[in-house]
């Protein structure tokens, strides 16, 4: 044990002198059913540097970090830690080998104290083998003093603010004295003052020789803290550069260079009266002062990075989580939308972002999935569903959307992602919506199904439906939208017309 540790230490120093990087990965590939999340990517972290990882939503940054932290196993590729090839079997394994990670989602145990959270599994023991709480709190205080964090080690985590929890997470990660520290969007939940504090901690760690991987969407942070950065795009490695050598525009260009292929551009169709108007929609702490209009036959694209709260606006429009203030007008009439049911009464349909979580009834059959929204309103006498009529409607719609399934009694979980998505679209089309809200309509589905869905959306617009389409794929937004609305951290960042819009302009608005 001791000799292995000593050997590792000698090895580490040698490698540092050779400037091999404390962590070096190459040829990493990771597939999920239906998508290649990472394809032959590489990344080299030098000790004592902050390395920013940049890319649009879905570029593969978080997937790679989860591989480095031992949460996912790569399908192919090599990970060199201090020059030695390693396999990281689990998060614990990665931690023990010197890699710690601060997760995007906070992963603290609410019912325990700050100190217990930080030292979990590593608690100091007294002579009886019981936890020595005095020493535990002292160790925590020492750590907090070093990091200049002003928090009571005995406080319950449940009582902390989100920002304080984030600081506890950071302290916990630092307490492992890891060689590599991964930070996935660490500033998304904290205020400016705390960001400055975090940067002080990061600079201190950097001076101690820690290699830091820093994922962020915020350009100004990149230039303030990062020494080097690597850009990913669509799961592929684009390049690594020193932060000193590039401008903001260079980086945006590297991030967005996605090609426009397999897209079905919107066909021109007459755009009519204003169908939906939103005025000063506001939900404190989530989004602020959102105003826009959508006309009949128009597709309004909604772009924005993680944390822009795009989906929250959609949920407010559909009454899932209603806004606190603001007005919604449909065909000029002010309306109240307090539940999905009321939204449906006004002719709104909402394809949610997460197919599995909020869309499909996975264990029910296709027919039930297609008809569920329709039968909440129509086709029932005294509670009895007019199954013959509804089945006919569902079959026709499934055929029109070319859902591939042996029959409608097949369970939805046995269908591919693209077909599940088509089923959900079929569910909403049966309700004959006037306003269609689509949140990531083509996420995680194959190219063929994608272009079919695009054709379908543009066909609906041609029939006079007003469409709000949220998408993380800029080519999709550019190809499909008549106008593009961009959000940034809960605020409207701006509108772009189809003619003037390009990927650089969108990213310019989305990433400040």
């Amino acid at each position: 044990m001791v000799t292995a540790k000593t050997a590792a230490a000698i090895d580490r120093m040698k490698r540092r002198i050779e400037d091999m990087g404390v962590l070096s990965i190459s040829g990493i590939r990771k597939e999920f059913p239906g998508v290649v999340a990472l394809d032959n990517v590489q990344l080299k972290i030098r000790p004592g540097t902050v390395h920013a990882l940049m890319g649009e939503n879905g570029a593969g940054k978080s997937t790679l970090m989860k591989i480095i932290a031992g949460i996912y196993q790569p399908d192919a590729g090599e990970i060199l830690l201090r020059g030695q090839p390693v396999t990281l079997k689990s998060p614990l394994d990665a931690l023990e080998q010197g890699i710690s990670m601060i997760h995007q989602e906070l992963a603290l145990m609410n019912s325990m104290t700050v100190a217990e959270n930080i030292w979990i599994r590593r608690e100091p023991k007294n002579g009886f083998g019981l936890i020595d709480h005095g020493k535990l709190f002292a160790m925590t205080q020492e750590l907090f003093d070093r990091l200049n964090i002003k928090l009571d080690p005995k406080a319950q985590v449940a009582d902390l603010t989100v920002a304080q929890k984030q600081m506890v997470e950071i302290a916990k990660a630092v307490s492992h004295d890891s060689d590599v520290l991964i930070m996935d969007e660490p500033t998304s939940a904290i205020t400016e003052k705390e960001v400055e504090h975090l940067f002080t901690i990061i600079r201190d760690l950097r001076a101690r020789g820690v290699g830091i991987v820093y994922i962020t969407h915020k350009m100004n942070e990149l230039f303030e803290i990062a020494d080097e950065f690597t850009v990913f795009r669509d799961g592929k490695y684009v390049g690594t550069h020193s932060a000193k050598d590039v401008t903001r525009d260079d980086i945006i260009r590297m991030m967005v260079g996605r090609e426009i292929t397999d897209m079905f551009p919107k066909i021109d169709c007459p755009i009519g009266e204003v169908m939906l108007e939103v005025r000063n929609l506001d939900l404190p702490g989530v989004f602020h002062d959102i105003s826009f209009q959508i006309r009949k036959g128009e597709i309004l694209g909604l772009a924005g990075l993680v944390g822009s709260k795009r989906s929250n606006v959609a949920e407010a429009l559909f009454g899932v989580t209603p806004a606190a203030s603001g007005e919604i007008l449909i065909e000029g009439e002010p309306v109240q939308i307090r539940s999905p049911r009321e939204a449906m009464d006004h002719g709104i349909a909402f394809l949610t972002e997460d197919r599995k979580e909020t869309g499909c009834f996975l264990i029910l059959d296709c027919l039930e999935n297609i008809q569920m929204a329709l039968i909440t309103r129509d086709h029932a006498t005294a509670g009895f569903v007019d199954q013959k009529t509804v089945t006919k409607l569902a079959e026709d719609m499934a055929a029109r959307l070319r859902v591939k399934t042996p029959n409608l009694s097949e369970r939805v979980e046995n269908l591919s992602g693209g077909n599940q998505q088509k089923l959900l679209i079929a569910r909403w089309l049966l309700t004959k919506p006037r306003i269609l809200i689509l949140d990531e309509p083509t996420r995680g589905i194959d190219v063929g199904a994608k272009s079919e869905i695009h054709r379908l959306i543009t066909g609906l617009a041609a029939e006079g439906v007003a469409v709000l389409m949220i998408s993380s794929e800029l080519p999709e937004v550019l190809g499909m939208s008549d106008r593009i609305m961009v959000m940034h951290e809960g605020h409207l960042a701006g509108f772009l017309d189809r003619a003037e819009a390009d990927q650089v302009k969108i990213m310019d608005l989305a990433a400040r």
Binding site: E357, C360, L364, M372, T376, A399, N407
Partner: protein, 340 residues
């Protein structure tokens, strides 16, 4: 490509439907019955199955809890659980019986309210159940406490009510009319009627389809426009009303009501549903499955009596079978996860 798309005809869809999940459970029932049949010939020298008397006693024994289980099945399909049914049996037995006493009995609970037509205590009893069910459903839907806790609370409270109602005294001497709902094969007939009604409701009405939808994915159900809160209340009301019905049947059959009646019935009702293939994670199961689960339960109990084995063995084997049924359910789900 076009021949891979959805079949336009409903008949084609039906012909490709695979075996219903109830077939497996039926197979288990047949298996267990055959084991008792063989053991019967070996040890007792007589048939287990071919005895009309034995079979009718067997069904009679389980059909009261079967009535409860029909309601509990619906609750479990929403992804919930109802622990209060056994207490509702006791509470309603006491409450309804106190309005069903004959005037010739000197110590009636309400001496001025005797010899009422049977419909009065029955409606009062069902109403009592509805109130308990409403409380269960309201707590679960609006305070968002887990169903286990909400119904545990009503279970204890209603049992307490049953004891307090007459300060522990049994309530006896029902009218002819009230007693008739427990006479002879009435419990079995009531079970069959309840099972058929809710089989139809679960398969062909909005009520049933929403129940499955909520259990399969509550969030998706809400986004599809289902008023999830209101529907959950309905389901818990149905479950408690059926438990109330069972309580009156028990009291009528025994011609007396005691505060301790229905003790642990909720567990047997849950067990019948689980053995019948109702998934505790919600969204799957059927009334037919539960009915078969109920018969399996009956076969085991009467089988052990038939083999003259100690009653203690029955309990122990019952426990093993419940666990085995849940293990089978978990195993099925694991297989699904792997496939997807």
């Amino acid at each position: 490509m076009s021949n891979a798309t959805v079949q336009p005809s409903a008949n084609a869809a039906k012909s490709q439907r695979r075996l219903p999940p109830e077939a497996n459970i039926l197979l288990v029932l047949v298996g267990i019955s055959l084991v008792f049949e063989i053991l019967g010939w070996m040890t007792q020298g007589q048939s287990f199955l071919f005895s009309w008397q034995r079979l009718s006693i067997m069904i009679l024994q389980v059909s009261v809890i079967g009535i409860i289980s029909v309601g509990v099945t619906q609750v479990i399909i929403t992804g919930g659980i109802d622990l209060s049914s056994g207490s509702v049996v006791g509470g309603v037995a006491m409450f309804a019986m106190s309005f069903a006493q004959v005037s010739t009995y000197a110590r009636a609970v309400y001496p001025s309210l005797t010899d009422l037509p049977a419909i009065v205590p029955i409606l009062l009893g069902l109403g009592f159940g509805a109130v308990v069910g409403f409380v269960n459903g309201w707590l679960i839907a609006f305070t968002k406490i887990p169903p286990f806790i909400a119904t545990l609370g009503t279970m204890v409270t209603v049992r307490g009510f049953a004891k307090w109602y007459t300060k522990g005294q049994p309530v006896s001497f029902p009218t002819e009319g009230f007693a008739s709902i427990g006479k002879g094969m009435m419990p079995v007939l009531i079970f069959i009627a309840v099972a058929i009604i809710f089989h139809i409701a679960m398969k062909y009405t909005r009520y049933g389809k929403f129940t499955y939808a909520i259990g399969a994915n509550m969030q998706a159900a809400r986004v599809s426009g289902i008023n999830v809160e209101r529907h959950l209340i309905k389901v818990y009301v149905v479950a408690a009303v059926l438990a109330a019905l069972a309580g009156m049947v028990v009291a009528a059959r025994g011609q007396t009501a005691q505060a301790g009646m229905g003790l642990a019935y909720e567990l047997d009702a849950i067990a019948m549903a689980v053995i019948g293939g109702v998934s505790l994670s919600g969204g799957r199961g059927s009334i037919i499955g539960t009915a078969i689960g109920m018969v399996i339960f009956g076969v085991i109990i009467s089988g052990f009596t038939f083999l003259r084995l100690d009653a203690y063995y029955q309990e122990m084997i019952k426990g093993v079978i419940i666990v085995a049924a849940v293990v089978a359910d978990v195993h099925r789900q694991k297989k699904r996860v792997k496939k997807s």
